[in-house]
């Protein structure tokens, strides 16, 4: 801190902005954390959000809201220029960027990719505390927990079929969501690991009841999910196997997206419950 101290003293007037020590200035370089941030932090606190949040295909917040904040490309250079009190990032950041932020003594809080709803809720509370608004965090956490309350129905076998045939297995957030919504993640029957690619052959041989296929965002091309949707083999299974769309952006983020994800899943479970 020695060499920098005179620097900071000189720059002190510039650093004192609308943010106070209780409500620090935040830069987020992760679009999933952006979704939590816009709900728990004051707008004046948010110095910058990830540029991914301003892209419809990868954003977890409404675009109109996202555009109100300056965007960053996740490089230490941009972060340092904003002089934040805290940088929040996800579990996977380029090693060079992490090292650069550490060297420049910019506080960095990393939130690993949540693997359960509890983990995600804990992260929401943690982030809210760090931005100085624990009450808002508690409120959001409550909403998420309510949305994710386990259903008391007979679990139906289901599978989430992602881009390129990527299936989330046990120990992932989508797995937890399926279980809470009244499904049983069928990935175990195929012996899949945490994230694995499932060839259609195995799927057709022992199909689950529901296939949640990751539909492409509007306008963008389809991935394996769409191919699966339209594959002749699956269409022939149609009465037995039901294919439903599941937006990709609800898969991994956690946080507020859990509410929407659970709505989609529970809605499907309810309709299927009636059909049976």
């Amino acid at each position: 801190m020695g060499a920098r101290a005179p620097l900071l003293l000189l720059a002190a007037p510039a650093l004192v902005s609308a943010a106070t020590p209780r409500a620090p200035r935040i830069v987020s370089i992760n679009p999933c954390l952006d979704a939590v941030l816009v709900r728990v932090a004051d707008p004046a606190q948010i110095a910058s959000i990830s540029a991914y949040s301003q892209d419809a295909r990868s954003s977890s917040i409404p675009l109109a809201l996202a555009r109100r904040y300056p965007a960053n490309a996740g490089t230490a250079e941009e972060v340092v220029a904003l002089r934040p009190d805290l940088v929040v990032a996800g579990g996977h950041v380029a090693p060079a960027t992490v090292a650069a932020l550490a060297r420049l003594r910019v506080p960095l809080a990393r939130f690993a990719v949540p693997t359960t709803v509890e983990e995600s809720v804990a992260q929401v509370r943690d982030l809210a505390a760090r931005v100085g608004h624990p009450a808002r965090g508690a409120a959001l956490a409550a909403r998420i927990e309510a949305a994710a309350r386990p259903s008391r129905v007979t679990p139906l076998p289901a599978l989430i079929f992602g881009a390129g045939g990527l299936v989330p297995g046990a120990g992932t957030l989508p797995d937890d969501l399926l279980t809470r919504a009244g499904f049983r993640n069928a990935s175990a029957t195929y012996g899949l690991a945490r994230w694995d690619v499932l060839p259609l052959e195995h799927l057709v041989a022992a199909p689950p009841r529901v296939l949640f296929s990751v539909a492409a965002a509007e306008g963008a091309g389809g991935g394996g999910g769409e191919r699966a949707e339209h594959h002749p083999a699956l269409r022939r299974l149609a009465p037995r196997l039901i294919t439903l769309p599941f937006p990709a952006r609800l898969m991994n983020c956690g946080g507020p997206t859990i509410v929407e994800a659970m709505a989609v899943l529970r809605g499907a479970r309810t309709r299927l419950g009636e059909r049976r």
Partner: protein, 320 residues
């Protein structure tokens, strides 16, 4: 020093200055003095990044020029011996097993990969000084390490790790630090020195291997120097910046007319031109408006295709 070299040096200085000033955050000249907190960006981020760009560009330029002179083939590339691919595999292993948490482990793994590849090259190619045997051995290693890298990506525990690996492989100078500079500089300096010493031998090879040997060129010694020099320069580059292709392939072509086609005389101009190319490209990737910074390796590939198209058209015109 020739006029062309002076122009290159001038262009290089301008490019370096541009690289310091430019980016998503434009730092005006008056902010460079230490009173402005933005000077931290210049001193701790832009300056090491610019210097590393110069080092990496020079390293790849010289390695490419030396390879083309040694193999008597203007399409030779520093990656032919497999060292680049092996170094990349080392780094990928660090990312795969999560060791990259420590900032210095990734470059260390990459250098270990480069060294292991070099040792394997010597083992497979044996004591043969034959160019064909050596090139084939390099292909074997590139193939093997490339497959293992792809395997690592497919076996990645989560798609995020896979994405991290793929992103790293595309090469970048983003957020590099003085630590990376201190790692790359001695290795590249040594590698460039070793390759520079081969200049007379490369010139002699213009006449073919028999005449070169009669002029005093010792093929095995030359081969060891080339392999060592390329391993040091390319290994250090991959360790600090990932895989950046095409520089070693394009730059010697561009400077060859300046050097009057003498292979030994292409080495230093290739260093300057390579440094210039990478610095300019790295500045441009910072300016492209995209959600995340455009990867430098990608930018180089994008430059490579039109460059080779131009070469092809020029050759067609000449042969017609």
């Amino acid at each position: 020093m020739s006029r062309a070299t002076l122009w290159l040096l001038l262009a290089l200085l301008l490019a370096a200055a541009g690289s310091l000033a430019a980016g998503k955050v434009w730092v005006p000249l008056d902010a460079w003095t230490s009173a402005d907190p933005r000077s931290i960006i210049i001193v701790e981020l832009r300056l090491p990044r610019t210097i590393l760009a110069l080092i990496v560009g020079a390293a790849l330029g010289v390695a490419g020029a030396a390879m083309q002179g040694y193999l008597r083939n203007p399409l030779a590339d520093p990656g032919l011996f497999g060292v680049s691919s092996g170094a990349a595999l080392g780094a990928v292993c660090a990312l795969f097993f999560g060791y990259a948490a420590q900032a210095w482990l990734l470059p260390l793994f990459a250098l270990a990969g480069a060294a292991a590849t070099m040792a394997l090259l010597a083992l497979i190619a044996g004591r043969s000084a034959s160019l064909l045997v050596f090139t084939l051995a390099g292909m074997v290693l590139t193939s093997l390490t490339g497959s293992l890298t792809a395997l690592a990506i497919s076996l990645a525990p989560t798609p995020f790790v896979a994405s991290e690996i793929v992103t790293w492989l595309m090469g970048a100078l983003t957020d590099r630090s003085w630590d990376d500079v201190w790692l790359a500089l001695p290795l590249v300096a040594l590698g460039v020195a070793v390759l520079a010493r081969t200049a007379p031998a490369l010139d002699a090879l213009t006449l073919g291997e028999t005449a070169a040997r009669s002029l005093g060129v010792e093929p095995r010694r030359l081969q060891r120097a080339i392999v060592l020099g390329v391993a040091l320069t390319v290994g250090a580059t991959v360790a600090t910046a990932g895989v950046i292709g095409f520089v070693g392939l394009m730059v010697p072509h561009l400077v060859r007319p300046l050097a009057r086609h003498r292979p030994g005389a292409t080495l230093w101009p290739s260093a300057l031109a390579g440094a210039l190319l990478v610095t300019v490209a790295d500045t441009l990737v910072r300016l492209v408006p995209s959600a995340s910074e455009l990867r430098l390796g990608i930018a180089m590939s994008l430059l490579g295709a039109p460059f080779f198209l131009y070469l092809l058209l020029r050759l067609r015109r000449r042969l017609a």
